[in-house]
């Protein structure tokens, strides 16, 4: 068939899975690797629920073919906590009630991580535009934006602005 073995590093560990030209990275993560924390909200790159980080770049896993992952380093929500210790973003999302249904949350967290990885002190406007590709229908974004900014502050080891 047209599927081949794809070798990649997922959350720091080498994995191999089958992937073809008709299969997205999202399908591979969810159906082959059973990493179902990455969600499908639209399959067309418009909602961000499937956000993952590939070689340091934030992408929609639905917009990348599975075989394109060959040799790549992929970070998913399952790898965000460090050996059971929550990332400051995860901690702040919980503290600030920045999720209601929680379905868009994995994507929002990965997108926020990609932001803070390159901009440790974003403005509210920068956070809002960076996260514009992650639709949340529950929260109205207020608490999400606050959580990201406070997590940034935590990461900078500053006092939380209140």
């Amino acid at each position: 068939m047209s599927r081949t073995v794809v070798n990649a590093i997922v959350n720091g560990e080498p994995v191999a899975f089958l992937g073809g030209g008709g299969q997205s990275l999202l399908d591979a993560l969810r159906d082959e690797l059973r990493l179902t924390g990455t969600k499908e909200g639209c399959g067309t790159g418009d909602c961000g629920a499937c956000s993952v980080i590939v070689d340091g770049r934030l992408v929609c896993a639905c917009l990348m073919l599975a075989p394109e992952a060959e040799g790549k380093r992929i970070e998913t929500i399952e790898g965000l906590a460090d050996n059971g210790h929550l990332h400051p973003l995860q901690h702040q999302f919980l503290e600030q009630a920045a999720l209601q249904c929680g379905f868009c949350t994995p994507g929002l967290l990965m997108a926020s991580k990609a932001l803070l990885d390159r901009n440790p002190d974003p403005t509210e406007t920068e956070v809002r535009y960076w996260l514009a590709g992650n639709i949340c229908r529950c929260t109205g974004y207020d608490k999400v934006v606050r959580a990201v900014m406070d997590a940034a502050a935590d990461l900078r080891q500053e006092e939380k602005p209140r």
Partner: protein, 297 residues
């Protein structure tokens, strides 16, 4: 999407061979942000997907003879991070960076944006206004063609069936030059342009316009180079009369349709408005006084 073959050639020659071998059932993959959506929706049903990103240089940006060569598959994120490019061609960069979300920016390319041939493609008017040249590889070698000659209608290009768009050449910038791209979308992000307008200008030392190119998007089957609009600026100091002439020329050039995103009247009116605003931003940038970056409308 059953049984789609994925191949990742290491040279352009291999890519062309693969395209020929697929006999019309092959599709080239750069960022994939349009192709994957079309495949999922059943609007594209390729048997072979040919990933171009393994071809050396096609996903990179380099400087050459004072100008820039942007690989056809270079991502929007890469373009946005390139200091030199941002300084020389801020309009091209802001247009490239308006395509989709942060996530889409991680993948989407100028080559894909052009070859997808949407009338509303954000980067195309900016590339046209910039006078960008396409480098195209075919079975018989390379050729060059201005960006405005590539799109021939919605979803259609003038590229041969076995040609591969390799790169965009942006010329060396004369002193006192600037460009800008603006689009109108109902939201602040994530939408397809209802109207887009790009302007690139070069001024003389006192600030008079000595050359100008104006291009508009989403108001005709392809992005348009509006030469009369550029002429309206040349020789002027961007005074009200020149700007009014620019607006009039743009409005005349518009041949839009009414659809779910906008009406003929709206698109025509707003194309003129955005062209004027883009012209003023381009002028400010040419004078080195710009501070606005990436503002939408």
């Amino acid at each position: 999407m059953s049984g789609v073959e994925y191949i990742s050639p290491g040279t352009v020659a291999e890519a062309i061979s693969a395209l020929q071998a697929a006999g019309g059932n092959g599709r080239l993959l750069a960022g994939g942000t349009d192709l994957l959506v079309q495949m999922r929706g059943g609007r594209a049903k390729p048997k072979v997907v040919i990933d171009l990103k393994g071809i050396p240089g096609i996903a990179a940006i380099r400087e050459e003879a004072g100008g820039f060569i942007i690989g056809a598959a270079a991502s929007g994120a890469l373009i946005g991070e390139h200091e030199g490019l941002r300084k020389a061609w801020p309009g091209v960069v802001e247009a490239a960076n308006l395509i989709g979300s942060t996530q889409v920016q991680g993948r989407a390319s100028l080559g894909g944006n052009l070859c997808n041939a949407s009338p509303a493609a954000d980067s195309v008017p900016a590339l046209i206004a910039a006078g960008a040249i396409c480098v195209i590889a075919g079975p018989n070698g390379q050729r060059e063609a201005p960006v405005e000659t590539i799109q021939s209608g919605p979803g259609k290009t003038t590229l041969g069936k076995d040609e591969v768009l390799m790169a965009f050449k942006l010329p060396k910038r004369p002193a006192h030059s600037g460009d800008a791209y603006l689009r109108l979308i109902p939201r602040t992000e994530m939408d397809i342009a209802v109207v887009g307008a790009a302007v690139s200008v070069t001024l003389d030392a006192p600030g008079k316009c000595i050359s100008a190119r104006v291009s508009i998007g989403a108001v005709a089957p392809t992005a348009l180079l509006v030469e009369t609009a550029g002429s309206a600026l040349v020789g002027s100091s961007f005074d009200d009369v020149a700007l009014a002439n620019l607006e009039a020329a743009v409005a005349v050039a518009c041949k839009p349709i009414s659809d779910k995103r906008g009406t003929i009247e709206y698109r025509t009116k707003v194309a003129a408005v955005l062209a004027r605003r883009a012209a003023l931003i381009a002028r400010d940038r040419a004078q080195g006084s710009d501070r606005a970056q990436g503002a939408a409308s």
